[in-house]
């Protein structure tokens, strides 16, 4: 048992490291020691964003699947991505598609969506999981239609916004936007740490709300915090990369197959595997796929067959 787990961790680290090496040393520009500028300016930032984004999606996906007691939940279920898309669309149509304003607007949009979902989910007797999911779905619909509306009214930005929100790691950093990203990454790390530290309570709440209460878990507080913190860190990521699909859904499942359902193992494992999968997908996008392919296309093309496999054999 011990041995198998160690092998699992080793595999995850190896997978991520191999992807990271390929990400840094492959690409259209040949590697040479004389000119390291493509690596420093282009590939290392890409690697950084990829690791943070993939890791966060894995951790939050795993946490929300536990909290909502539903293995088909992903980090986008609760409406964060639609808020970010709305924020980004508004920024683009307002003509301020700068490298700083765009993620800023997307992040604000994500926060707005989180707040709206939270207010809708709160009711008599506090926040409940069912209301949270319903509110998330409704807010997603509302914001998606608003994005459509904005696109139709301002025709020319149609492609740009769609492309942006379908996921890519190609952020060109300026000095100020690099700082903003560093802040987001730090917040994301703190949020993920909080979730990992509450792993045992997530284990218990994943059984059933009443059982969790009777085992001494403050379910209200946990639900509120996991939703707010999870959505917040995902919002901090989606603002930079767009809504990369399937990573947050599939990765926790794979890790559970490896380590069993304990969140103390599933969440850190999902961070490593999520980061690895995203980096590998980006390597494919940059080296094999036709230029400009959104990341979500790759993650979905890998993810869907796997999902069908899960559906046929496990659920």
């Amino acid at each position: 048992m011990r041995y198998k787990k160690r092998l699992g961790w080793f595999g995850l680290v190896l997978f991520l490291s191999a992807g990271a090496i390929l990400e840094v040393f492959t690409g259209p520009a040949r590697f040479s020691f004389k000119d390291l500028s493509p690596i420093v300016n282009f590939r290392l930032p890409r690697l950084g964003i990829g690791v943070v984004a993939g890791g966060v999606l894995g951790v939050v996906g795993g946490s929300l699947q536990g909290l909502l007691r539903n293995p088909l939940v992903d980090p986008w279920t609760l409406g964060v991505a639609s808020g970010a898309a709305l924020g980004a669309s508004i920024a683009i149509t307002a003509g301020s598609g700068t490298s700083l304003l765009l993620p800023g607007a997307a992040f604000l949009g994500a926060l707005f969506a989180i707040g709206l979902v939270y207010l809708l989910a709160r009711g008599r007797g506090g926040i409940t999981v069912t209301r949270l999911v319903l509110a998330g779905v409704i807010v997603s619909f509302l914001f998606s239609s608003l994005v459509m509306l904005i696109m139709v009214l301002s025709r020319h930005t149609l492609g740009e916004a769609v492309y942006l929100m379908m996921g890519n790691l190609g952020v060109v950093f300026t000095k100020s936007s690099a700082w903003l990203f560093a802040v987001c990454a730090l917040l994301a790390a703190a949020g993920c740490a909080w979730l990992v530290f509450h792993a045992r309570e997530l284990d218990i709440v994943s059984l059933n709300e009443e059982v969790a209460l009777s085992l001494g878990v403050d379910v209200q507080r946990l639900t509120r915090m996991v939703f707010l913190i999870g959505s917040f860190v995902v919002g901090a990521v989606v603002a930079w990369t767009g809504a990369i699909s399937f990573v947050g859904l599939i990765v926790p499942h794979l890790v559970r197959m490896l380590f069993g359902p304990r969140h103390a193992l599933v969440l850190p494992g999902s961070f490593l595997l999520g980061a690895g999968v995203l980096i590998w997908a980006d390597v494919i996008v940059r080296n094999i796929a036709p230029a400009g392919l959104p990341l979500s296309v790759v993650t979905a093309l890998i993810g869907v067959p796997f999902f069908i496999y899960l559906l046929r054999t496990r659920v």
Partner: protein, 258 residues
């Protein structure tokens, strides 16, 4: 010493009040049965005692302490619940499920200590699930699963164990097995509150039985005083035949011919 003291509580779902100035005392060390027709408030009463539902008025005390003033962790160390059925979204092992019963003793960041592992081992032995410890909770039978849930409840080291129709979907053998564990608990001085649809089970093992009908106490006394034709007719609208158990002398209920 009163293990559970319910004083003048009011509680309802929506407009309709289910309990209106309802009171009940359960002594420490009792094997207390709760019976009554569907919708009479049996499960709601348990949830109120466990602090899962909050009364709109009135007070509930556990060993003299006001339930609304003690923390969830504290409640979980005093009282545990065995629900009728449990569903598991993920593939937990039996041992992991039982270990969850130690949660009220563990701080957020802490890992289980040697004492926690010993306790888990002890209660798994008591409920006879030790040999299942590494198995997936979804791969074992309903009877085994319910014993695992009882083990989890015991891992909480509770003074009071509440059972919500915990035996109703088990066969004879597994029923008796659970009841034996409960009797053993009672003999150790724990308080057992046993909600059941099975009148004979309640009558056979409980020291006192509460007959509920739409949130009101029809009777609350020894089984002989509660399992009576007129009372049961009033509660259930059926006139049953009452006989006596040849071995225990407790009253038993038979359905009339259809």
């Amino acid at each position: 010493m009163k293990a559970i003291e319910i004083k003048d509580i009011k509680f309802g779902f929506g407009e309709r009040l289910l309990f209106d100035r309802f009171s009940l005392d359960i002594e420490a060390g009792e094997f207390f049965g709760v019976i009554g027709p569907n919708g009479s408030g049996k499960s709601t009463l348990l949830r109120l005692c466990a602090g899962i539902l909050k009364p709109e008025a009135g007070r509930i005390h556990l060993f003299g302490k006001d339930l609304s003033r003690i923390s969830r962790r504290q409640i979980a160390r005093t009282l545990s619940i065995v629900p009728q059925e449990s569903f598991f979204t993920f593939e937990w092992t039996v041992e992991q499920v039982v270990m969850m019963g130690r949660n009220p003793f563990l701080m957020t960041f802490a890992r289980p200590t040697v004492r926690d592992w010993e306790k888990v081992e002890e209660v798994m032995g008591l409920t006879g699930v030790l040999e299942l410890r590494g198995k997936s909770i979804n791969s074992i039978s309903a009877g085994e699963k319910q014993r695992v849930i009882v083990a989890r409840a015991l891992a909480q080291e509770p003074e009071i164990v509440l059972l919500d129709e915990a035996t109703s979907h088990l066969d004879l053998f597994h029923r008796l097995e659970i009841v034996r564990i409960l009797v053993q608990l009672k003999n150790q001085g724990k308080t057992v509150v046993f909600v059941s649809h099975d009148l004979n089970e309640a009558s056979g093992y409980c020291s006192r039985v509460l007959l509920l009908a739409s949130g009101k106490t029809l009777a609350c006394a020894q089984p002989e005083m509660v399992i009576k034709r007129e009372l049961l007719k009033e509660a259930y609208g059926v006139e049953p035949v009452i006989s006596v158990h040849p071995l225990t002398g407790r009253p038993q209920v038979l359905l009339p011919p259809a």
